[in-house]
Symmetry: none
DNA sequence: GATGAATGAGTGTTCATTCAT
DNA sequence: CATGAATGAACACTCATTCAT
């Protein structure tokens, strides 16, 4: 009954994200999540050690999906700017389409649960992006600054602009998105 | 009768921020906050209608303080870049010194409570900054883009860079901060 | 400042009855009653020792008013039946006009507070009615039964019929009321 | 999984009645009732949606038991008076033996919870008694008056006389009970 | 593997009462 | 005399988690 297992695991993942988005981190009880997933609260404890485990797993799962999408179609043979553009758009579209994922991650990373995360695990997921930045610096295409600073100016804005909670009543046109990337690039290019 | 204690109000404000930072938004109970403030939970209800009122008031209080600091020393007689620089540094230093304020605001704005605040009230606080941006666009000093986009590229990074939780193990030197503002400016300048 | 005192005392009496009727015995807090009376909770404790004292006093006050009305116009020179009729109508009209008083008394007398009442005090208030019954028995006009039994068959029904909560959707016409007294009289007359 | 315990449901019913009788409707907290039933307060919420549900269910349960006993041994082949006598004695004995049930019902029906019960449901329980009255009127054996009036003069006194709180220090002999029914019958008979 | 029953500890909130003014 | 501030205890209810089936 391997199939059933994975179905339930996925159902629990989706239920966790959905519940947190619906009622907030504070009001997301195990009972509500289990109900949303269509299983008993007791069943949840077969798949996860406890609530913390559930939340952390959900967070890492989202981060993994985000990183997979972000790094998609990086092509070292193309000009560096094109690669940055690719990652930037990947991020923008993913967070646009999954505001629930983003909102969950945001609530999680501003909670004390975040301290339980092995930061290196997350960093490894985004290694291709860090490599991209490092390469850009070496090739003197972008400014020589810390990876975290570059990230703050290039990729964070993409996430913020795609978050309807932070940028309400605000629907970006294709052209605006293009322009926005130009700002990001202007910030870091040499 | 005893008079309402200004000190207690302030103590409750500080206790709310501190508690949310210590145990997270989700685990911040009225009891914990009251204990942190050194008053009875019942006393809290003399100063605030309920928990929601406490959290919203605390959030708006932080936003107000942040906006007051941010807009400090804006001087229309100076070049526009200097004014941007001033605001940028104001924000950076304020969030550096009050990472707890920032973290509270971040958790709040990613919670469902955020839907209960009047966005216009907050926008009004930051009107001088919006004016600055509008003036820059009119004077063709910065790119003609939506205020929210400009903000995302200039001021959000300042906040992120000063947040030790997001940028851990990372202490910015004076020079790095200066350079960071340069990135912000490069992003938006024409 | 004697006038003010009595005004407040009366206000507290009315507020107690009104509050109990509005939100029920269980939810009638000192704070709500004080607010309804337009005074501070602390003020209430100047006039009454504590909540129990307030409730008991209110109950006895109602009973006193009820007994005063009930015994009004008893006239020993008239035939006994006329006197019974008088008392019966007095009760019916009083409880009709003050369903709030009745409901308060009913809630009170079915609560453990009732054990704190000195029954003799109440009995004394209704002594004229008891006398009436005793006289009727002596004169062999009504059946020779215990005062409490007579009361249960004559006066209790009057109270019940006038209680809109027990007899809902039920508005008695003058004629029905007259007929009802006839039933009461038929029950006890010899 | 464990199965829902019939015993616990009954224990909660009894505990509710007993607690209300001991400390009064107003002071009957969920915690006290649960303790009396020997379960955790949390367990109570498995069997009842909330406190209101518990109290309403308990009330309807009592009303159902009362109606079942009241209507026992009604026999249409017997003279009407015998049937009235049967119901009257049924009520008297039931409320004599279960003064706690009666007192609960009385407190409940004078509380705001009473507005939440469907009166028709209760009326249906006592339909046989209403039928009896209607038949008596048709057969011109008893006076032609509203069912509620008849009830007030016949059955309410039975309940009141059996209530030790209202008729204290008062133990009715068999003969007195018989006589009392005679009063009830005299009130309504043609 | 899967479940709903069960619970001690906790939730936000209100209580009756006292106290300083 | 009169008050609103202050509170420990209690309120109804939900929590994360375990257990028997």
């Amino acid at each position: 009954m391997r199939t059933k297992d994975e179905e339930k695991q996925e159902a629990l993942f989706e239920a966790t994200v959905r519940t947190v988005n619906k009622v907030g981190f504070a009001s997301s009880s195990v009972a509500k999540i289990a109900k949303q997933a269509g299983v008993s609260p007791a069943t949840l404890y077969i798949y996860y050690k406890n609530k913390e485990d559930l939340l952390i797993s959900t967070y890492l799962n989202i981060k993994r999906r985000l990183s997979e999408v972000a790094c998609r179609d990086i092509d070292e043979t193309l000009p560096l700017r094109d690669n940055f553009r690719q990652v930037w758009f990947n991020l923008f579209w993913f967070t646009s389409r999954h505001p629930d994922y983003f909102q969950f991650a945001e609530q999680f990373s501003n909670s004390p649960y975040n301290d339980r995360i092995n930061q290196k695990t997350v960093d490894k997921m985004f290694a291709p992006v860090a490599d991209l930045i490092r390469r850009g610096i070496e090739m003197k295409v972008i400014k020589n600054m810390d990876v975290e600073i570059i990230t703050a100016f290039v990729f964070y804005p993409a996430i913020i602009l795609s978050n309807p909670r932070l940028c309400r009543n605000f629907d970006m046109s294709e052209h605006q998105i293009d322009q926005s990337f130009q700002l990001a690039w202007d910030a870091i290019k040499l």
